[in-house]
């Protein structure tokens, strides 16, 4: 008597009900003796300093943007995929144009190097005769010259 989506709501309720019951039973049984050292955040045995909630920088924004483009693309392809069998060549041609356009944007994006995630720019220590080991500061400029996206512009 429940509609199909009613069952889905029922599933969601039973899922969270199960978690609720499990945690409730645990709450009844488990000991609960908080003290302030125990409630301190764990940081490998040290007292944590500085706050943990820093704003993560912009590489996430680029990934989010790229994800959005592809998600919308696939969203539009879903209805096409369902009826593809009945229409045939015309559907294939329409899809091909659509996917090809976005593919060009994607290839451009790949070329520009925007998707190079958290690329490490290791600073290799140099050695100069008569000076000894120099912490090679200008290494970062050299890598920047070669591949601008490689180094995160802070």
């Amino acid at each position: 008597m429940l509609t199909d989506f009613g069952y889905i709501l029922l599933f969601i309720i039973t899922g969270s009900l199960f978690v609720g019951v499990a945690l409730l039973v645990a709450k009844l049984i488990r000991p609960d003796r908080p003290n302030d050292i125990k409630l301190m955040t764990y940081e490998c045995g040290e007292i944590p300093f500085g706050n943990a909630r820093i704003q993560f920088n912009n590489r996430f924004y680029i990934i989010g943007l790229m994800f959005l483009i592809f998600e919308v693309e696939i969203l539009l392809l879903f209805p096409w995929a369902v009826v593809f069998k009945d229409i045939g060549w015309f559907a294939f041609a329409a899809m091909f144009v659509f996917v090809f356009l976005i593919f060009i944007g994607f290839v451009y994006e790949l070329g520009k190097g925007e998707l190079k995630w958290d690329l490490p720019a290791p600073v290799i220590p140099g050695y100069a005769e008569g000076v000894g080991v120099i912490e090679n500061g200008n290494e970062i400029e050299e890598t920047a010259a070669k591949d601008p996206a490689a180094v995160i512009n802070d």
């Binding site: 940081e43 490998c44 045995g45 040290e46 944590p48 300093f49 500085g50 943990a52 820093i54 704003q55 993560f56 920088n57 590489r59 958290d118 490490p120 720019a121 290791p122 600073v123 290799i124 220590p125 140099g126 050695y127 000894g132 080991v133 912490e135 970062i140 995160i152 802070d154």
Partner: protein, 378 residues
């Protein structure tokens, strides 16, 4: 720590890869300044396992009582630590040691080198997420520990060598046991290579990471597999031969930069794997040359009272050049014993070679320089 906090802008995070961390090979604290996941600055903090070895050496009332404490410095390769100290004392007192003792010492030292490398390689694989090679290496290592246990009675810290000889002779089936081990171990190295060394993900995670150029390695005083990984042909057993190492022929494997730039993590790793094969060759030749008779405790002096003077002797421990600087002032207890530990020097290099890498790379670099904290903090 406070000064770090003032001058970091909001986007950088200061994090403690602290004393309790799955991949710091013991109690080592690394203070990382991170931007996202890229490391801006690493400051190692040691001393969590400082067990006052040098103070103990000065308080002991006999030179040979220091030997159990040298075991506990680098507890993964205890025989090599004793070997270094005993060589220093014998050079100080100008004792020459019977042939059979030298051969037994070389065989035990090379077996211990294989066991120590097995642990180093296993832990390195574990840091990168490969759990199974760690257990395969431990299975092989247990076989070596069986041989040690039958000879010395202990699994990890032996107190087996004495100044001028050995505590006791080897057990009767020593030669057959070691020969069996050699036969079964050789194919295992090939299996380890297939599983880990030439695994594509492993190569991606270790090539071009933690690059240590040749000159920088020398200036930082690197030694052992870390120096050889950077392409320097330097092994104390060959270049400054002590004991009877010049009798055996073996090569020194050197990093060639096969998988990336010369001196990266993969080079240091593959030098250790190839070094195990060379140690097998040494043991084989030493087993053939082992003289049958000869009392191992004949040259052990009853009382050691060296006149005043000082000596610095170096030996090749699995982690690098292990040096003992001993100063004596003609009394029964040593005036000053300074142990130059290779891991202490290699950890000093960590900030220089890991700037600008990710946390995952830092874990690989710490694994590749293969430090033992007992030796770092002494």
């Amino acid at each position: 720590m406070v000064e770090i906090l003032d001058n970091i802008d909001q986007r950088e995070m200061v994090i403690n890869m602290g004393p309790q961390h799955p991949s710091t090979h013991g109690v080592l604290r690394l203070e990382l300044v991170l931007d996202g996941e890229i490391i801006k600055k690493v400051t190692p903090n040691i001393g969590y396992l400082h067990r006052c070895f040098e103070k103990y050496a000065e308080q002991m009332d006999d030179y040979s009582k220091v030997i159990p404490y040298t075991d506990r410095m680098d507890y993964v390769s205890a025989i090599n630590q004793e070997h270094g100290y005993v060589l220093a004392m014998e050079r100080l007192l100008e004792i020459d040691v019977p042939e059979r003792v030298e051969y037994i010492r070389v065989i035990m030292a090379e077996l211990q080198r294989i066991a120590s490398h097995l642990l180093g390689i296993g832990a390195f694989g574990l840091d990168l997420g490969a759990f199974t090679p760690f257990l395969y290496c431990f299975t092989e290592r247990e076989k070596i520990l069986d041989i040690f246990e039958r000879t010395t009675g202990a699994r990890l810290l032996y107190n087996y060598m004495a100044v001028g000889g050995l505590m006791k002779d080897v057990h009767p089936e020593f030669k057959t046991d070691t020969a069996d081990f050699l036969k079964t171990f050789r194919p295992k190295i090939k299996e380890l290579n297939d599983l880990l060394s030439y695994n594509d993900i492993f190569i991606k995670r270790t090539a071009n990471i933690g690059v240590l150029p040749k000159q920088v390695a020398i200036n930082y005083g690197a030694s052992g597999p870390v120096l050889r990984g950077s392409g320097v042909q330097w092994d104390l057993r060959k270049n400054d031969p002590y004991s009877i190492y010049e009798k055996f022929d073996f090569e020194i494997p050197v990093g060639m930069g096969e998988m990336g730039t010369l001196g990266d993590c993969w080079d240091r790793y593959i030098v250790r794997v190839r070094e195990m094969e060379q140690s097998l060759r040494i043991i084989e030749q030493a087993l053939d040359g082992l003289p049958e008779e000869g009392d191992v405790t004949e040259a052990v002096p009853k009382r050691i009272r060296p006149k005043n003077g000082s000596i610095y002797t170096r030996s090749e421990s699995p982690r690098g050049e292990l040096g003992y600087y001993i100063e004596s002032n003609n009394s029964a207890s040593p005036y000053r014993v300074k142990a130059r530990a290779p891991s202490f020097v290699h950890l000093g290099m960590l900030p220089a070679i890991s700037k600008g890498s990710l946390i995952a790379d830092l874990v690989a670099i710490v694994g590749s320089i293969d430090i033992v904290l007992g030796e770092v903090d002494r």
